[in-house]
């Protein structure tokens, strides 16, 4: 019974999904379409149910396949907020036909379900299935723009890389299974501690599993498709994928790497790697490359969406810093930054989507003079971007400080230097975009239509960011408490 109570959020999500499907089938030309409303109500229900399951307490359910703990709860709230914002923002977008917009809610809800499962999976096969589920939905979301070549192309690329990453994952799992005879990550950990693998096999298993995850989080060397996906997908999808799919990836990579490949260190709240293989060095190199390549590529882009796509890559590199240091402070900083990026990226893509609606383009050359045409939107776009890359005094800066500080505390000065460098390059990339937005003085541009709905949605994204900045302490404390996932 307790098992059932603990997965009530997922159950309600499935019910909402079913309800939305029925609504769509029975729809016949009514003016008012209830799909958005039903989705939002369903998400609210999921939220309360998640709160209730929090009261019940952490547990491993269904013979250890799902871990309902602070960590998964953190991500559940994260995904609920994301789904909520996405459902609202989709209704403002004109990149998809009005009829298809409502169906899009279905994809969002289904992806949320898959991300819920990914966040609490403690079984390697369930994790694989939830990722597969998520990725298949992501391919649909990417290709959702009608009659667009780049959209289709991005989807096919996404699919190809997804298949490769899935194969790598399965190989890694096979190696681990042969050695440990279990599919549960916590039992794998115990087996690995009592009978360590030899370091070559460990290296191969680790590299395979880590490479497959780099696809999910968009890190080097799988970063190449990220800008393509973000450019090709309709802008609301870009927002959802760049936040949601990445966050699901980070939920899994954190849980898996730390539970399978690490053990309690000497000090409280610190871990160390199992056996002889120092895999943090591999992660550090990948983090450094991801940051630098992402920000350098962002600097050279001609399209705003591609630019943001590369910034997203660079941000993934920063988040990996939280894993490199192998302590609670690092992971806490990672979670804090994810929350910041949720609001910042949603804001960035929302404004870009609005610009795309008006101009049918996101090329930097076409964005000239946007500041004159839509003052609050453009100012907010710049603020969201600055927050994303952590320019002081935005709350993103506190997050970057926590991550880079964690690296310095563990004596990783080179990595910290690389990250400060990447941070400044990202800021230059944003300055390039902002330079275009400011625009030409001599030209007169017609202003855009005025919309309260648009302004209030932007405000609804900006306000949480300000609050997170002011009450960073609470967010850090919350993120820190969510780390109760170590059951070794």
């Amino acid at each position: 019974m307790k098992d059932f109570l603990l997965i009530m959020p997922e159950v309600i999500l499935v019910l909402t999904l079913a309800f939305v499907v029925i609504c769509e089938i029975t729809y016949s030309g009514e003016q008012l379409r209830l799909v958005t409303l039903i989705s939002l109500l369903g998400l609210a229900g999921v939220f309360f149910q998640a709160l209730i399951s929090f009261e019940v307490g952490a547990a491993q359910i269904f013979s250890g396949t799902l871990s309902i703990d602070g960590f998964s709860l953190f991500f559940k709230f994260f995904f609920i907020v994301l789904a909520f914002l996405s459902v609202v923002s989709v209704s403002h977008s004109r990149e998809m036909g009005a009829g298809r917009r409502t169906e899009y809610c279905l994809l969002i809800l289904a992806s949320t379900l898959s991300m819920f499962l990914a966040a609490s999976a403690s079984d390697v096969i369930l994790a694989y299935l939830s990722l597969l589920f998520l990725n298949i939905l992501s391919y649909f979301m990417t290709a959702y723009r009608q009659k667009s070549l780049i959209s289709t192309e991005a989807s096919v690329k996404y699919l190809t890389f997804g298949v490769v990453s899935g194969a790598l994952y399965i190989y890694a799992v096979a190696i681990l299974f042969v050695h440990t005879h279990t599919l549960n990550i916590y039992q794998m950990h115990k087996a690995l501690v009592s009978h360590p693998m030899n370091s070559q096999t460990m290296l191969i298993a680790f590299m395979l599993i880590f490479l497959s995850f780099t696809f999910q989080i968009g890190a080097f060397p799988m970063n190449l498709i990220v800008p393509d996906i973000i450019e090709g997908a309709p802008t609301p999808s870009s927002a959802f994928l760049s936040v949601g799919a990445r966050a699901a990836g980070f939920a899994l990579i954190t849980r898996f790497l730390i539970v399978i490949f690490a053990q309690n260190g000497l000090a409280q709240g610190q871990w160390e790697f199992i056996g002889d293989l120092d895999w943090t060095k591999i992660v550090a190199v990948v983090a450094g490359f991801t940051m630098v390549i992402g920000s350098l590529l962002a600097f050279r882009q001609k399209g705003a969406k591609r630019l943001v796509g590369n910034l997203v890559v660079s941000e993934s590199g920063f988040l990996l810093l939280g894993i490199v240091v192998l302590d609670e402070a690092g992971i806490t900083a990672l979670l804090y930054n994810l929350v910041i990026q949720l609001f910042a990226l949603m804001g960035v893509f929302y404004v870009l989507s609005f610009i795309y609606n008006e101009l049918q383009s996101d090329l930097l050359d076409d964005l000239k003079g946007m500041l004159r045409r839509a003052v609050p939107e453009t100012v907010c776009l710049i603020l969201f971007l600055l927050c994303l890359v952590g320019c002081p005094p935005t709350p993103g800066f506190v997050g970057k400080f926590a991550l880079i500080g964690a690296a310095i505390r563990h004596g990783k000065y080179s990595l910290a230097m690389v990250s400060v460098l990447a941070m400044s390059i990202s800021m230059f990339a944003i300055a390039r975009l902002a330079y275009r937005l400011v625009g030409d003085f001599r030209q007169v541009y017609p202003p855009f239509s005025y919309s309260w709905a648009r302004k209030s949605f932007i405000l609804a994204l900006l306000l949480p960011l300000v609050l997170i900045g002011v009450f960073s302490n609470f967010v850090f404390a919350w993120a820190g408490q969510s780390l109760g996932f170590i059951f070794w």
Partner: protein, 499 residues
């Protein structure tokens, strides 16, 4: 004496900025001006009630902000930051009044000025490194938008360069900050806890070499600040902004950002890096001299009022650096005093040159073939000429004006340590009197030309906002005693840790 006055005057402009953005246009201007004035009154009340003869930090406010990283909201005021507070309190209401009749987006200009006022007040009063950096970073944003939206023709490029310079500068300071934070145990950002040479002798290892933390952090911080405060060779963005920014915004940079930047340099180097400063103060003086000379020489060649102001500012910063690097109590007191005075004087210069540009649509005062373009304003408009004369006299250090006190203290202080710098500084002042008088002669004296015929004198509003500047320059020149007594004990205490 602690009624949370510091928080009051830091956050009132911010609240005012938010509040005025919801009001219709004519009313919003009064709210902006009111908020700015209210904050200034709070600031003056605090300074007025400060105890002198003590080096303690007064009116301390201390709350935990992000306790997991030991970041606190710690504000306080002492002799070193009292004067920048006075300066910001005087400048910003004036700037808001000067942009009273802005046609495009008056609410935006006022809101951003208020935001800048909050940020600078915060950066000056913060006694926590992180908080200080937070406000210092915040001060870059309004400038970017003010230049980018209201600037002249090439504003895109100017705002782009400003942004690059400030973000690069912030990256340097940030690195220094993190290094400092993790070098002490328990980790701390509080200036109070980091003071007294806590960083002395700490080293870190990088690629097999050992580096002294205070040396590296001091270098990073100095480079970071010199990108925001135009110090040669990083002044490229500044001279560009001089021509593109609206006059009031350029005044906000010259008289707001730059004095605060030099203040932060003084505070951090005396409190955090006394031993690094002890090793490197020669270089600080050398850089000061270089700035003084280069600023002066470049100013001679200028034909435009704005660029002249920019190079004047660079040379004034050089003078302040000479004072700070002299490490003698008189010199440092002079430098701290000069921060206030050059802020006021440059604000006056920027504002009257803005008015001239506005009325004659000209920035240059010397034409292509060295001919006179403007001229004779003194006959048409005596008031503005008197104001300009007083401002110039103060910049040159005429007795009875604020500049005299600042300049002479810096020179007296430096003379005991290194007489050579005094010779250089004095000759650069002679140079300054050449180019400033040349400017005055070309613009104000002589017969009116076509453009200055019928030049309208100062209106009541313009008189109202220029009046406090002139009174300030006269008052601080004639009666510097109370402020100097406020600065001296703090400077003596800080210097005792350097030697």
């Amino acid at each position: 004496m602690n009624y949370y006055l510091i928080s009051f005057f830091v956050f009132i402009p911010l609240l005012g900025a938010l509040f005025q953005s919801f009001l219709p246009k004519p009313k919003s201007r009064w709210v902006s001006l009111g908020a700015s004035l209210l904050a200034s009154v709070g600031a003056f009340a605090l300074i007025f009630g400060m105890k002198n003869q003590t080096a303690d930090i007064q009116a301390v406010e201390n709350f935990s902000w992000i306790s997991s990283y030991a970041i606190s909201y710690e504000m306080g005021i002492d002799g070193l930051n009292a004067l920048p507070v006075v300066l910001i309190g005087m400048i910003f209401p004036i700037l808001i009044a000067s942009e009273w009749n802005q046609k495009i987006g008056v609410k935006g200009v006022h809101g951003l000025f208020l935001l800048l006022q909050s940020a600078l007040f915060g950066a000056v009063c913060a006694q926590d490194l992180f908080l200080q950096f937070f406000f210092w970073g915040l001060s870059a944003l309004p400038i970017y938008f003010l230049v980018g939206i209201w600037g002249a023709e090439n504003r895109e490029k100017a705002s782009f360069r400003t942004f690059i310079a400030s973000s690069l500068g912030d990256a340097f300071i940030f690195t220094a900050l993190v290094l400092i934070y993790y070098s002490v145990d328990p980790h701390s950002f509080s200036l109070r806890e980091l003071s007294g040479g806590r960083l002395a002798g700490k080293v870190f290892e990088f690629w097999g070499h050992e580096f002294s933390i205070s040396g590296v952090a001091f270098t990073l911080m100095s480079i970071g600040l010199s990108l925001r405060v135009p110090i040669w060779p990083f002044h490229g963005w500044f001279t560009e902004v001089a021509e593109e920014a609206p006059p009031s915004v350029f005044v906000a940079i010259c008289a707001g950002i730059i004095p605060v930047g030099t203040y932060i340099f003084a505070r951090l180097s005396y409190v955090l890096f006394p031993e690094a400063l002890g090793d490197t103060f020669k270089y600080v003086v050398v850089i000061g001299i270089l700035n003084l000379i280069l600023g002066g020489v470049c100013a001679v060649a200028q034909k435009g009022l704005r660029k002249l102001l920019a190079y004047l500012c660079i040379s004034e910063v050089g003078l302040v650096l000479i004072g700070l690097g002299s490490l003698s109590s008189v010199g440092v007191v002079g430098a701290v005093y000069e921060q206030l005075i050059f802020g006021l004087a440059l604000a006056g210069f920027g504002l009257f040159s803005g008015l001239i540009t506005q009325r004659t649509a000209r920035i240059e005062f010397i034409g292509e073939n060295q001919e006179r373009v403007l001229g004779g304003i003194a006959i048409e408009a005596p008031m503005i000429s008197i104001v300009a004369g007083i401002v110039l006299a103060s910049l040159l250090g005429f007795p009875g004006l604020g500049g005299f006190v600042g300049h002479s203290l810096i020179m007296i202080g430096s003379f005991t340590v290194r007489p050579f710098t005094v010779i250089v500084a004095a000759s650069s002042l002679l140079l300054a009197s050449y180019y400033l008088f040349k400017m005055y002669r070309y613009v104000f004296l002589g017969e009116p030309t076509g453009e200055t015929k019928g030049f309208e004198d100062l209106t009541v509003r313009e008189r109202a906002y220029l009046f406090p500047l002139v009174v300030g320059l006269l008052f601080f020149g004639l009666y510097p005693k109370p402020l100097i007594e406020l600065i001296r004990p703090t400077v003596l205490t800080l210097l005792s840790s350097v030697k």
